[in-house]
Subunit: 448 residues, 2 copies
Amino acid sequence: MDQVDQWDIAVETALRERDLPCVRALLDERDAAEVASLLEREDAADRAVMYRLLDRDKALEVFELLDAGMRAELFQGLRDEDVAQVFEELDPDDRAQLVDELPAGVAGKLMRGLSPHERELTAPILGYPKNAIGRYMSTEFVRLLPHFTLGDALTHVRHRGGEAETVYMLPVTSEHRRVLGVVGLRELITGRSDQRVEDIMVDARVVRATDDAEAAARQVVDAGLLAAPVTDSQDRIVGVVTVDDAARILEEAEDEDAARQGASEPLGRPYLATPVFGIVKSRVVWLLVLAVSALLTVQVLDVFEATLDKVVTLALFIPLLTGTAGNTGSQAATTVTRALAMGEVSKRDVLAVAWREVRVGAILGALLGTLGFALAGLVFGLPFGIVIGSTLLLICTLAATVGGCMPMLARLVRADPAVFSTPFISTFCDATSLIIYFVVATWVLGIS
Amino acid sequence: MDQVDQWDIAVETALRERDLPCVRALLDERDAAEVASLLEREDAADRAVMYRLLDRDKALEVFELLDAGMRAELFQGLRDEDVAQVFEELDPDDRAQLVDELPAGVAGKLMRGLSPHERELTAPILGYPKNAIGRYMSTEFVRLLPHFTLGDALTHVRHRGGEAETVYMLPVTSEHRRVLGVVGLRELITGRSDQRVEDIMVDARVVRATDDAEAAARQVVDAGLLAAPVTDSQDRIVGVVTVDDAARILEEAEDEDAARQGASEPLGRPYLATPVFGIVKSRVVWLLVLAVSALLTVQVLDVFEATLDKVVTLALFIPLLTGTAGNTGSQAATTVTRALAMGEVSKRDVLAVAWREVRVGAILGALLGTLGFALAGLVFGLPFGIVIGSTLLLICTLAATVGGCMPMLARLVRADPAVFSTPFISTFCDATSLIIYFVVATWVLGIS
């Protein structure tokens, strides 16, 4: 780790001193992954300079490791003759991702400039909707027929395997490309060469090209597969999705969930490489939406202003109560959102989730309520203790239930559960808990 | 999806009717991954019944796909004769994980009962600290020597590859097990059989057995590797870590981060399979800590009670202001925590992060402040507009800076950045923003 850090610094120093041969030599020392992660930390101008200093093969490798947004930016900074060449050499799935990020005119021109073979490999990917796994699949794969002997199959892989995305999972199909099973390369080489493919093939776990990319990727990772065949609506193979593509898809999905959970949009690129206004943009909409929703709390308090004027002590507990409601709601929302993302919970569990959260909320509320009753009672007298204690019991129960159900409701209307982010639920709980608080207070303290 | 759901229901119905042959037949229909995800949805008793109905090979596969906590529980529910057998058949790395979850006495007895060969494979894994990648590596791998011809190497893989965790990435080592490079099985089978291993091997990306598991796993996934050799402090190979192990490690880490972000501890098992008291336990400590910290807000308001008593309208904006501060702080904290987890930002960037967040916070504060000034000014008069506007500007700047720096500080003291969870930062921002609010109000409104 320390060594890498010093290498970073050496490259940056050489770059500042415009000692380009030295930068090139330093970049040559490390592998593509390390160069890519260095590039992701630099600003756009330095990144472009460094990228052009890489030798051709490494440049392509580095390019494929960068974030999607950054690829498009870098790509547009290349000279025209380089652009066409890089585009031709990219894997078809990476090429399809890039097409999404580029202005339509540029993308169209590039697609027309492709060799017929590469265009043919890319077109099917672009035919699927943006969130479908078909958009991430590789169309370069080697398929086997069931009657091949293992010896023939191995020869087939040797000849055709050079271009393929993976040869470690080999789909077995009928003549009409219908998936019959899969064979691992390990089983192929350890089997007897006169055995047939159909003797050693096992059931395939396939995904549909139109399936949601995140769900399909999660299936591949959870089942511990190296790759899975991707099929069209007639069960014919159209591509394969590999575990490293799947891991990348999940990482992007986690990015989005994590950002939404904190009420911002994903940056789509590394933090330090995002301009300050880019960060502002990712946060401002949510912040405004939440602030405007919070006007609700101003209105609730306005209604109870007379009560507040009589017993100003009530104001002291406002942040404590709204905070506790918000926290309880967030806890429930986070847990259920995660469970939905992991496929542990599905739509039909909505009642089971609600009933669990009612109980969890009531237990937490009883604990905190007892504590609140004791503390507030000691300092501000018994009636006040009763107000704080019973308010805590009620708001914890309500907040946990609401926090648990909101992500389920989002899923029921087919929205992203993470849209009902923690802060959104907090704001909702704030307003509700204030109403409960003042109703309980008016009643217990006998304020009219 | 629908089809799976109906299969779920069929199994559950058969189970309720105690029609065990039917349950067995239904379980036989689906692959291990589907059975595992069904088992994870059931309660402990049903899970144990279903597990015992699986045939031996599938049972082992299913066992390896379950969450760590669930494995230990299921394991302890098996008959003694089954326990020893399952333990013997597990992969060494899965066995090591299980040892961690079992009571020490049980684990020790099982380890002593292992065959010498299996014990030898497991012992090195158990020698590494709990968070180290060495704890997750596989000790069953096939290594090649550089002078092997490709033909010899392939024969070697054929003979030795049966037991190995992977044969798709083959480490090349010296006689003394020092890692010299790696060879992919694809390159091995597509090369000429008289070439030597050293002619086609490429530089290895190795991880140290004592490296942090999450960081090492992220390296493997980010570099798009199928596996990486794991070495000891003398650069000798001790194991390999595969991309599916890496993806699982990252998933667990995301679980923990997601839970902490929502102020709870990870459940360690699927939501619906966790007893209500388990969920309460995962939340209660954080909730209490946060509620006790929130007592600070009661004290701050207590200090300003006289001011509140004079201008009760000030109370109306308390939830709006504390909420906005909390949201701004969460946004910054979430973004920076994620950037740290992804390795986009490191310790030495603390000043760069602070300076970015000061600017982002100030811009957001200026936007919200202008809006607050206009709205509050219109409804409650100019002086009130000035109070709300300038308070928003100040608290957004402060909250973004604090939210961005707290995860960095956690990393500097080597704590988990996610410990300074969103709600924790919210609570801190609540108290600070109240102080700013009342100081500004006292000054602008001229209250004494």
